[in-house]
Subunit: 407 residues, 4 copies
């Protein structure tokens, strides 16, 4: 029997708060780049371990530090002066004892550097990864004890730590709007049409009663913008596009502000948010894993959040990663499938050394829809939680197949 | 007129949640060390700027990456194999134009390295900073635009970003207990009596209804523990000390667990939480700024939290830092001084480019005590918020004088 | 009038020494790779300066440190475990004041990293530069004073230092043999036919009276050698090729030894000189500029040598570079064109701050052929020296056009 | 029987060359600092190995790269802006298999960093090593094969490579003068009296027939020099001291030039050779091992030289180090003790894999004094060479006890 608990939530729904704040750091934000690299490295190592050894070995690559470079963007051009420095740290098993007693070496540094560079190439399309970045790897070897956990042929691994994960569903309109606004601006179609829009896009949504203000900071790619007038016209165009997109996610009024720090009295590039590469990491903005979006893609101070960095942690026994992702999956399924649930929040707490499918507690806090009581939904909710815990190692597969986000 | 708003909270008090989770990463946890270094560097730079230039110049040193070293702890001894790598990044003004047109150089790298090392020396007493760490500095030069903001003789600086801070008060019993347990174990008196207790202490509090479980992970300093028996006896002793201390903060039942990952069947050091220096950063655990405690010293998923790293940001116009600290101060004063307030949560939201004493909104959400209505407290609460905003630059002084914590 | 001096040498010719030692570190030796990178970076910066500013600005990039990686070569395959670390240091002007008072930035770091990587790609053909190396750049900004020298529109720059260069000609048979043996093994034709021969080839020639022993250390590329037998057969084949090539350069007897550290009793790869990439820098051997070949391509303890690293120094006023290269050119022309000269050695000594075409002394020490007196050749020798000094800035062009080697 | 050969030299003595150039880079020159650190690290590792394991294990730490910092020297003060970066590379055995099959770890990184810092503290007295330097260690693990050589209990180790060493004696007057001038200026007594003289002192001696010009570049320590006048007066004083010291080593005329790049028309510090720490490594001048003095302390293009970096190589089987040092010892003893020897040069050539006391050849080339024939000295010379080869492992002890210099 698993320790599953269902509570009735007494709070009013977030939608009824007078003030709601939601933020998303887009793909090209330095913190998100760090998250993305950390997760890519973990994924690449996991695959390499599976190929070489048959199962994933111990690793945690959730410590990526981006040190900003220096650039000289100009309308219609610009250059990189000093590349972005990317430090990969963490640890990973670099050797595996084969049954015959010999050691099999795993090229952790090479795999990690390759994964990081490929991620960058795929993600920040105007960044010349070869000449615009320096990727250094200081990943240490995993400690022997933890490595053991992975070597054993266990059906369910044991928790690495006393830790917890949280999740909630469904998203409010403001949450959806913020997330989807970034998705739109970073979509392939949009980039094809508007190549001057870099990936470094931060969307801050502020709902005051039933009016939303979307403040969007978006890096322009300098070589695709010829002058100030073009820049300003584009800003107007994007404002309209964002505003027109909003009704897909909300029926509230939406104001859009773009690059509010611009000084439009200035003629040359110094007054505008121009970059050579599309990310502010090229000049001025450092980044690191776990400082930005939570594992559901958002920062939501009105909601329960975990401080755990999800990206880059090993998907086998790091409950700080797994329980956050699991909470997202569980709450989404509950919100979607259980009639009568208006909102659900989860917290799953581990016990170090115990199998990860046996948490100390998995607690769901439910707001029911009008006309429903907690007893009406309890059984279904409990069943869904149990099913996900039963199949907890699916999370590992979802991650390797890139079916779920971590930031 | 400032945008101050007072709301009535509809949630039940956190104390009435069936499940409450609270965590504190102690001073010697790698994330906390990063926070402490980041803030020390900011403080040292601020002082140097004041001395050389008359006012604080632009800087943000909230990106510190600790890459774990390698060690070989032994009962009664042990050695460092590979030092802890500490990378200081961020940016800071390295030059200041004097009225005569000449430039005054500021030795940012030297100041930063010195501050980091001094912090480490003061904080991790068994760490030989000279030979057990490598402190590297890649702090870049501040961008010209932001620097300008600081050069102007303004009474109130303008927001650097669209961002927000949150806070709440008072602490629940569980919150107090977690915080004070770490304080006790890292107090000077305790360290004098028990030199074998390192600074890397993580306290996780789990309240289930009215029963609290405190799970404490504490690094022992190997040279002060002669063998397994001594280690186990000390664990017992500390369990009692922590349990005996609890009633000062709570009337609930408290269970204490220490170093639950130990394997007591093992005779040699491999089964226990032994370190040479008192921090797990010596082997295996990386750290970075903003990944651990929030600015009130705790991680509290039942409470509103901000993702902003408070430590290391400049105390002049970085609202991600200032509004979090301000929210803590305001809510504490409200909880303490306003009769009838049971719980208060705040969110302060900035407008980029506007003076920081004029936030877009400063909203307090109040739970009143029985017998009080929101109208009874509204005026006092509003007055306190306004007073703090009026004197917002005090936060800068508090930080330089080390009167308030940031992690 | 220039300070040109012609002396009669009293030594016997090197050919008459009973013992002569000559060494060449081939293109792929870690020290030579460092030299090559240093010179490539200097060349790339020189070209960029010319393009952006109109003339070469101050720089010295003669400090490249290669830290070996880690690899796991196997017959028929193998992998890189840890990339080769390449640190570019030195200094270079990063800004140039335009006539309008504005500053023009030069992307020194990006240019340097690009030049280093392109050099590696061109030179070590089996090295995957992207994933098998980390190129980090810590080139500092040039000091203002030295920069000035370059800003002035001078016909002849002034010496940067009190320093000297040396040269000699013609090469002995042993010298030619050593040089040409490496050239053969690293030629394009040879590589096409024998792709398993890496670029890391060290040739040591020992002449004892009229018998030469060539000891060749050559890295094999593991993926092109299927097993021990193939390796040993190839060694035999190469021994014959080298021996057959020798009569082109010498009429002495020549013994050839290849990879003398091999242990042929071993079956697996551990007994042989196998590499994944063709250079020992992939595992075990560090390198740095100026530690290997002198500017004429050889190490010749029987001959005068300069300790100056020629590669990577600026080609404008660094006499440590220019006078060595000039001495090579001058002595070669003298040896070739002046009838009666058997051997010539030169030393050119600078005076700091004086134009580089006015050395403190340019001294030639001549051995004449039988039947010739020093007076017979003095005038021609003097004329050649004077002509080269007159046209000393040609050296700069030769370097930019890659017409002369530096290592 | 050892391969010892005695030849008659036909050259005229160096003293009879019309032109003789001799250079010494003093203790504080960046290249010499690198040499000193490399050798200190090797010494510290050797001692640690002996203590932990009983004998020296494999290591080579002859790759030290100093990247210059940035400073702001002022008459009477000044500050360090950016510390000197010191990268320790090379490789060393980090583990040793004990007879019981267990591994003993050796804290190579910690030992190396400690040795480097202690050397700096002892050598560059005005350098604040804590805050003015960053010492990073990337020493890799020694390859298994080479490690084996050291594990065996052999009386005489085997050569690591095909390589050679050279030496000569006695020093000419110019050589002695250059060496002793630096020794004087860097002596403890002199530093006590003249604390403003930094350790970065380069002495270039140029002998033209029987007139010597000593060009001395010496870094002044800014805090000990109040203004330009004091600086100029000191230069005059030092010029006299150096000139007065010369007759102890030579009967030739000696001209002394100090800091010839100074621009005495300038009033402020920009015109003079001022440093905060006493070494130009603080700003502008990088350094690395093996780029400066040969193992006898001098650079002597008129003499046979080896390119091998002596400092930092292991003292057990690295013939590139041992044979150079041995050649110095042998030639000194011959020059001093064998009647009739005017000058002696040696070359010792190894055979990879053969015991180091059995070189391929040890050849001495002798100039006899008037009235002596080669036959008169041959036997004594041969005996001395044989004795040193017989006792070749003494070199190891001399190095550990710091009885012989390596640069």
């Amino acid at each position: 029997m698993r320790n599953i608990r269902i509570e009735k939530a007494l709070q009013r729904p977030v939608e009824q708060d007078e003030l709601e704040v939601v933020e998303r750091k887009g793909l090209g934000h330095p913190d998100s780049i760090s998250d993305g690299i950390g997760e890519s490295v973990s994924r690449a190592l996991s695959k390499a371990y599976k190929e070489e050894v048959g199962h994933v070995l111990h690793h945690n690559t959730d410590e990526i530090q981006i040190t900003a470079g220096e650039s000289d963007p100009k309308f219609g051009g610009g250059q990189i002066i000093k590349p972005i420095q990317i430090l990969l740290t963490g640890r990973a098993a670099t050797e595996f004892k084969l049954p015959n007693g010999k050691s099999q070496k795993i090229g952790v540094d090479s795999i990690a550097i390759k994964a990081a560079k490929e991620y960058l190439r795929d993600t920040i399309i105007n960044l010349d990864v070869d000449y615009g970045t320096v990727v250094e790897c200081k990943i240490g070897q995993g400690s022997a004890d933890l490595t053991d956990v992975f070597d054993r042929e266990t059906t369910v691994p044991s928790s690495n730590d006393t830790s917890f994960g949280v999740g909630f569903a469904p998203f409010t309109q403001t949450e959806k709007l913020v997330l989807e606004t970034e998705h739109l601006l970073n979509s392939k179609d949009f980039k094809k049409k508007y190549p001057m829009v870099g990936e470094d896009i931060k969307v801050m949504g502020l709902r005051e009663n039933d009016q939303v203000t979307l403040t969007v900071a978006m890096a322009f790619v300098s070589k695709y913008v010829n002058d100030r007038d073009e820049y300003l016209n584009l800003k107007d165009e994007f404002k309209n596009i964002i505003a027109d997109n909003a009704p897909n996610y909300t029926d509230m009024g939406v104001d859009v502000l773009i690059n509010t720090a611009d000084d439009e009295s200035v003629k040359d590039e110094s007054g505008y948010y121009l970059t050579v590469t599309g990310t502010s990491a090229e000049m001025g903005d450092d980044g690191s894993v776990g400082r930005g979006n939570r594992s559901n893609g958002l920062i939501t101070p009105n909601r329960p959040m975990s401080m755990e960095a999800t990206s880059g942690k090993n998907p086998i026994n790091h409950v700080g990663k797994i329980y956050n992702l699991l909470s997202n999956q569980i709450t989404q399924e509950i919100a979607q499938d259980v009639e009568g649930v208006r909102n659900v929040e989860m917290i799953i707490l581990s016990q170090i050394g115990k199998p990860i499918d046996q948490p100390r507690t998995a607690t769901a806090r439910i707001q029911t829809q009008e006309g429903y009581k907690i007893e009406d939904v309890e059984q279904d909710v409990s069943r869904i939680i149990d099913k996900w815990l039963e199949n907890i190692t699916d999370i590992q597969d979802f991650l390797l197949e890139e079916k779920i986000r971590t930031f």
